[in-house]
């Protein structure tokens, strides 16, 4: 549904997006993950036809967005990061304006307004002035605006920024719900967001894609290591020393009240660890294997990317 080839964008001298290519298949929810100023918003703005790329091509539903943007834009629902709204309009007027602007007739627009306010839980506020709504509701209005014309592709730029945690989880489940009927590309710099909503992730840093894969595969790639988190009562210094002597253990470090034991993935030191602790007369309170979080993956990948480009 979304196809990007060799996309490059310069703002004057500054390179914002550097030769990126990726695909998003029909029905996928893909997260575009990267720190601030990585080029996420620029990529999305080019995909939606708001900006023209310096080089490269993008296709939305088989329409080339550089040469045939007008046709392609019919298939896109877009929520920019700032969630821009006409604050002097009511929710209904706002949705009606964009519905009509995107080619729905009056009857269909009314029908769709009823659908989307239901979907976005806006029933109570449909005749309220947008300017008086709270941030969370504005976000929903922005989302409703993006789906009013039933686009095949949804592009959401940081859809959960600046709203409270309860609303964040509501928005996420809404996005998942929308993913059943739409192809979604969403950007975020919040890591749990990707694992909560997306099936696949594209990691982008300083304008370049540094990794793209399913979340499971990505963690497997970077993993290579097993991490055990142990809570133990006893002298931590001594315990650390003893544990380090176990065959295959690479590193033992402290993390708050826990000890983290790292070893290669092939070696499982759990049995030895418990044995040593118990035999030395210390008390083992808990032991668990910790999955590498997306945060760790991300840090590792960006660090790798930096090393590579530094050595170039």
């Amino acid at each position: 549904m979304i196809k990007v080839r060799n996309l490059t964008k310069y703002y004057g001298e500054r390179l914002a997006v550097d030769n990126i290519s990726f695909d998003v298949g029909k029905g996928e929810i893909v997260g575009l993950l990267g720190p601030n100023a990585a080029g996420k918003t620029t990529t999305m703005r080019i995909l939606t036809g708001f900006l023209t790329p310096t080089r490269g091509d993008t296709w939305i539903a088989d329409c080339n967005m550089v040469t045939n943007s007008l046709e392609g834009r019919k298939h896109i629902g877009y929520m920019p990061e700032s969630v821009p709204l006409y604050t002097d309009m009511t929710v209904r007027e706002y949705l009606a304006f964009f519905g009509r602007l995107r080619g729905l007739d009056a009857k269909r627009t009314n029908h769709r307004i009823n659908d989307v306010i239901g979907l976005c839980n806006l029933e109570e506020y449909v005749d309220s002035i947008i300017g008086k709504l709270s941030k969370g509701f504005r976000q929903r209005v922005g989302l409703a605006q993006a789906i009013i014309h039933e686009p095949e592709v949804l592009i959401l730029d940081e859809p959960t920024v600046g709203i409270d945690p309860l609303q964040v989880s509501q928005t996420r489940s809404l996005i998942k719900e929308l993913g059943k009927e739409h192809t979604i590309l969403l950007s975020t710099h919040i890591l749990p967001e990707v694992s909560a909503t997306c099936g696949r992730v594209i990691i982008i840093n300083r304008g370049r894609i540094i990794a793209q894969d399913s979340i499971e595969n990505l963690s497997a790639i970077v993993k290579g290591a097993r991490r055990l988190r142990i809570e133990v009562k006893g002298p931590h210094d001594q315990i650390t020393k003893r544990l380090q002597r176990i065959d295959g253990v690479k590193k033992v470090s402290r993390e708050g009240n826990y000890l983290i034991v790292e070893s290669p993935i092939q070696i499982d030191p759990r049995a030895q660890v418990t044995e040593i602790i118990v035999k030395s007369g210390w008390t083992l309170l808990s032991i668990e294997t910790v999955e590498m979080s997306l945060e760790d993956i991300f840090l590792q990948l960006t660090a790798k990317d930096k090393e590579e480009s530094d050595s170039e």
Partner: protein, 247 residues
């Protein structure tokens, strides 16, 4: 065309729900009303007006004021047209909807033109009063209105353009005010210049093309002048919008 009207309608609506358009219309009516009275008494026909003959001069006065003030009011009217959308970001939604750039600009322009027409219609009580209390020559009055409409639309086009190049409404208003003042001013300068240059200057001046309308003459030259200014600046606005995609 549908989408042009949709955007124009939305624009008109947002004018009517914000105080700005009302304030501008009030001040415009106040100023033109004051000058209408001043001209009327200055021409001394006021005393004999009830049964007497009223020169179109009194409306001529009104239209003279209109032709000086209307462009300035137009600058204030159009300043938010595009710059506000750029600032709050709704611009991004507009430009990613399946709408041509031309349709966006035309829609915006027509929305502001709607307010201008309202302003002009509201001044029609001046000729109405003249018609009730005298027998004014209606010809020059209608041509004056045509002239005001044309000069007003040129000014709105200039404003639409300046609003498209900035996110700051004040800058948009000041720049369009400046352009309009310059276009008006060259007409005045032309009086003191050698004929050849003076002709050029007076041809490109907003104000000199107005005088024919105010005495009841419809010259295609003048109509074409105002329409070209309108078209030129709307075209510039469309191009500026295209440029924004290249950033």
């Amino acid at each position: 065309m549908n989408k042009v009207m949709l955007i124009a309608g939305k624009e008109l609506r947002s004018y009517l729900t914000s105080p700005m358009a009302y304030i501008i219309t009030c001040i415009f009516l106040l100023i033109s009303g004051v000058f209408f009275v001043l001209y009327l008494t200055a021409t001394k026909y006021a005393d004999t007006s009830i049964q007497g003959f009223i020169e179109p001069l009194s409306v001529f006065g009104l239209s003279n004021i209109g032709n000086v003030f209307l462009p300035l009011f137009a600058s204030i009217l159009t300043m938010r047209l595009l710059s506000e959308e750029k600032k709050i970001g709704t611009w991004e939604l507009l430009l990613t909807s399946p709408v041509k750039d031309t349709e966006v600009i035309l829609g915006k322009f027509l929305g502001s033109l709607g307010i201008l027409v309202c302003m002009l219609v509201l001044t029609m009580y001046f000729p109405l009063m003249l018609a009730i209390f005298g027998q004014p020559d209606m010809g020059p009055i209608w041509t004056s209105y045509l002239g005001l409409f044309l000069i007003g639309s040129s000014a709105l086009a200039v404003g639409t353009f300046t609003s498209s190049i900035t996110t700051n409404q004040i800058i948009a208003a000041v720049v369009s005010g400046g352009i309009l003042f310059a276009l008006w001013f060259v007409g005045m300068v032309s009086n003191v210049l050698p004929t050849a240059i003076a002709n050029v200057f007076s041809y490109i001046s907003l104000s000199s093309h107005f005088s024919n309308f105010s005495v009841g003459i419809i010259d295609t030259k003048d109509i074409i002048y105002y329409l070209s200014v309108t078209a030129l600046f709307l075209y510039a606005a469309i191009r500026s919008l295209e440029t924004s995609r290249w950033n």
